[in-house]
């Protein structure tokens, strides 16, 4: 009989990622409802020391696979070890992060275990002892409640949604063999290109700070660059700003430019012509800063600031700097 909640912790460069703590806390909460144990799988090279921190967030037992083969992350290698540990310990629930790595790994592991997986969940619960994962579908236009007919029930959790709360447990280290047959690994990481500029392409950006006609000139975009730098975002522009020659065509958001859907879209001095809205309305959170209270952009914005953007934006940059620090 499958029992307990297991998580797959994620680390990068020798440090636990925040999602790992969110996973641990969430697993703890679930396990406490049935009085079960929380275990974690931690893979990497020279990472045994991280187990203690998982213990601090409620993990009873940490299966540590410390092996050079585990670094850097290669799907097939990690999936093989995770699947092996899961099979040996037979948890009822297996949680991973819905990070880029977690998404990549979770599906492969689910296939290996021939079980069901709910990805990118925003809530998980036990309903009459049965694990239910709640996740957005159709770009958030509806939510599905997922149940799994095999064990373990797998779910990946959306980062930043579940709280991470300290709840110290033993965090006992159990070493597992994480050696892999090199011949079975077909992929090789040739290069890790660290993003030093902090800028990503508009279409891939999580945060976009866009400026329009209200920026009054190319120099106005300086304050947007500063805000974007703090939020690790990218600066975009409306057609008006591009036509005026203040920004390049590649920076244009809209029907005739790039269609974007970042987590956060901050529109500054953009009135919100339909051609612009068509390019950004699928953004998850929209902020509009414009001194014209009648600007159509406010009808699409989650948060609106009716004021002079040249005063608001620098203040916002300062506020965000403190928040993300």
């Amino acid at each position: 009989m499958a029992k307990g909640v297991m998580i797959v912790a994620e680390q990068r460069d020798g440090a636990l990622r925040k999602i790992s703590l969110e996973l641990a806390s969430t697993a703890r909460k679930l396990a406490d409802q049935t009085g079960d144990e929380v275990s974690a799988i931690l893979l990497g090279s020279g990472i045994e020391g991280l187990a203690a921190e998982l213990g601090k967030y409620g993990v009873d037992k940490v299966f540590v696979g410390d092996n050079a083969a585990m670094e850097p992350y290669i799907t097939e290698a990690h999936a093989a070890v995770v699947a092996k540990v899961v099979k040996e310990n037979d948890p009822a629930i297996l949680l991973l992060g819905a990070s880029v790595q977690g998404k990549d790994l979770s599906a492969r592991v689910a296939a290996k275990l021939a079980t069901g997986l709910a990805t990118d969940c925003t809530d998980v619960k036990l309903d009459g002892g049965k694990f239910v994962a709640i996740r957005p579908m159709y770009a958030g236009k509806c939510f599905g409640e997922i149940v799994t007919s095999a064990t373990p029930a797998m779910a990946s959790l959306r980062p930043n949604v579940f709280p991470a709360a300290e709840n110290a447990k033993a965090g006992t280290v159990v070493k597992v063999d994480a050696a892999v047959d090199a011949a079975s690994i077909k992929s090789k990481i040739l290069e890790v290109q660290k993003d030093t500029s902090g800028k990503v392409d508009l279409t891939e950006a999580n945060v976009i700070v866009s400026g329009g006609r209200g920026m009054k000139g190319p120099e106005g975009f300086g304050i947007l660059e500063e805000l974007a730098a703090v939020l690790k975002g990218t600066v975009g522009a409306s057609r008006a700003a591009v036509d005026a020659g203040w920004k390049l065509q590649k920076d244009q958001v809209g029907q005739t430019g790039k269609v974007v859907s970042p987590n956060l879209y901050i529109a500054c001095g953009i009135s919100g012509a339909i051609q612009h809205l068509a390019g950004m309305s699928s953004s998850k959170c929209i902020v509009a800063i414009n001194k014209d209270a009648e600007a159509p952009i406010f009808t699409k914005a989650d948060y609106g600031v009716v004021d002079d953007l040249f005063k608001v934006v620098p203040e916002l940059t300062a506020v965000c700097k403190k928040l993300v620090a």
Binding site: D243, Q249, Q255, G257, A273, I274, L277, A278, A293, E294
Partner: protein
Amino acid sequence: MKEHAFYVGREGREVFWNIPLPVFEILLFALTAVALGIFGYGVYHRWRIWKAMGKPEMRLDNIKERVITVLKEIFLQNKVLKDPYPGIMHALIFFGFFVLIFGAAFDAGQHHVTEPLFGWTFLKGNFYLGFSFLMDLFGLLVLIGVIIALDRRFVQKPDRLGYKGEIDNTPDDVIVLLLIGAIIITGFIVEALRIYVTNPPWEVWSFVGWLLSRTFTGIELDTARILHQLTWWLHAVLGLGFIAYIPYSRLLHIITTPANHFLESYKPTGYIEPIRDFENAEAFGVGKLDEFTWKQIFDSDACTRCGRCQDGCPAYLTGKPLSPKKMVQDIKTYWLENAPAAVAAKKAELEASGEAAKQNVFMRGLNKVDSVVDKAVLSFKRDKAPAEKALVGEVVDLHELWACTNCMYCMEHCSASIEHVPKIIDMRRYKVLTEADFAPELQLTCRNMENNSNPWGVGAHLRGDWAKELGIKTLAEDPSVEYLFYVGCSGSFDDRGKKISIALAKILQEAGVSFGILGNEEGCCGDSAMRAGNEYLFQTLAQTNIDVMNGYGVKKIIAICPHGYNALKKDYPNFGGNFEVYHHTEIIAKLIADGKIRLTQPLSGTFVYHDSCFLGRYNNVYDQPRQILKAIPGLQLVEMERSFDKSFCCGAGGARMWMEEDIGERINNARTKQAMAVKADTIAVGCPFCLTMMSDGIKDQQMSETMQAWDIAELVVKAMGKEEVKPPVDACAV
């Protein structure tokens, strides 16, 4: 030959005075025959080229109207005179030459026909005097015309006679003008010398010749006789040379331009022939010259390079590479390069099929001549074989092809009835349908139309949302209404456009007009898709709308967007959609005239009306919008320099609304400046695309504080005193 006796009271002149007959006469006949032969062969040679390329197209309906049109264009110089200055220039030369030829025919008629056969002479007495006067007068007019023409070509150099500041005078242009001038001048000299020698007092009526003869004082009479003979021959040779030269020079337009008027389209303005077979075609649109119809190619031979098209082309005038004239001329050059091979191929085909042998002696003889000429031409051009060029992309550059706004200025003002826009759409069809190679932003627009039946890609289920809470019924709820209000995409999805829809709905409700909308059953009209060349998508969209409309038995339609208006009116009948379609300004003007709505609230300021191309040039709706504005108390209505049929496009037509404009000045800015030039503070429009363009233009020109753009329907609602004044937004109320 009989001796004539002329005296005061029996004024006249000897027709072949000082010309030894019959030797010279025979020689003249012989030369005439040669000239006509060269002329005839030239026309025949051209005829073969006209026939060599292009798909068949019938343009022989409405024969009576066609004949009338040609007569009107020739003898009233109808289209030519639409632009007065160059029009008069042309008319002087044309009418002058025409009268002179008639005069020569009178001379010849008397000399060779009436006198020898019936002993009847008519060039005598007062008739002769009047005749002489007219001949001199029209000769003088031709000369004035030629001088004006030379002045334009070499002194004034208007841009339209070139391309981007470079005057494109060819040797031929100059030769033709000098030839005409020389014919007239030698004619006058011949006349003057005759008068000088014979000196009859009544020849004062030949006033130019008479005045000129006064300058010859001192010349020996015998010398004058010799000079006369020489000049006479020069005049004759130049005149015959003119005839022979016609088919080999720009003078060919004497034939091709009237022919093109004869062949003009009898479809509604701006009509685009749909593609009727998608299933069995291998390629769509026109990618090769041969895929044009012969008429589309013939067009280019009717072009006189007058440049009127270029003079009002919004693309050209804002610095894009497109010039309708250049495009037509490039097609012509390309055609002439490729025609010999096509002619040879046709001939080879004829010979291979054995048809050639069955031809009569005359045709076989002509073929022989052809072979000799072709060979000669080929050996002359050996090193100048035409380079392999693609029609679309090389002959017509893609930037030219996509710069066109379909505004119809070129076709409206072409004095040769050339049809530029259909050619552009045909070539766009090739790029879009056959090659699927077109601007990414336009691809997105097409996908949006495919998936959500509107160019922005807003969810199709939101189409009817603007009308919620306005008490407007859909046809599904009440199909018995008189009018369907076809809202269109702007009026349904664009926040600015929705205000026009709401305004019109308010007016119709106020006037008690029975109307309904289709709500979410409505779809995109497809105009932008069609004009982008995506005929397949257009027909899909059109058919969907037509099926819905016919399903409700729709008869009358009101549209607020001239693009939908035009498409529904002119293109939908091709697919079984036959409706009476009105633009909202037509309806509102009638409601005002009938007293159904009252405009009592004065509006102040200087208003200018911007003619939408698809309303004005396409559908001749110029007056109703202005009538409405004039009915609004208080405002002052002014006109921009370019208005009515000379209106300047806003830049959004021809699917340009959905494309980046990255070459030259933005068209909407150019148009906004024209409104600023007449000190307008309100630009009134009747088209949501124009409204977007003008509003953007006002913002770009930093004129938002003092200038605004409104749809006429919105202005009417204001003038009715029905505008809802929104309370100021309480920023912190939420």
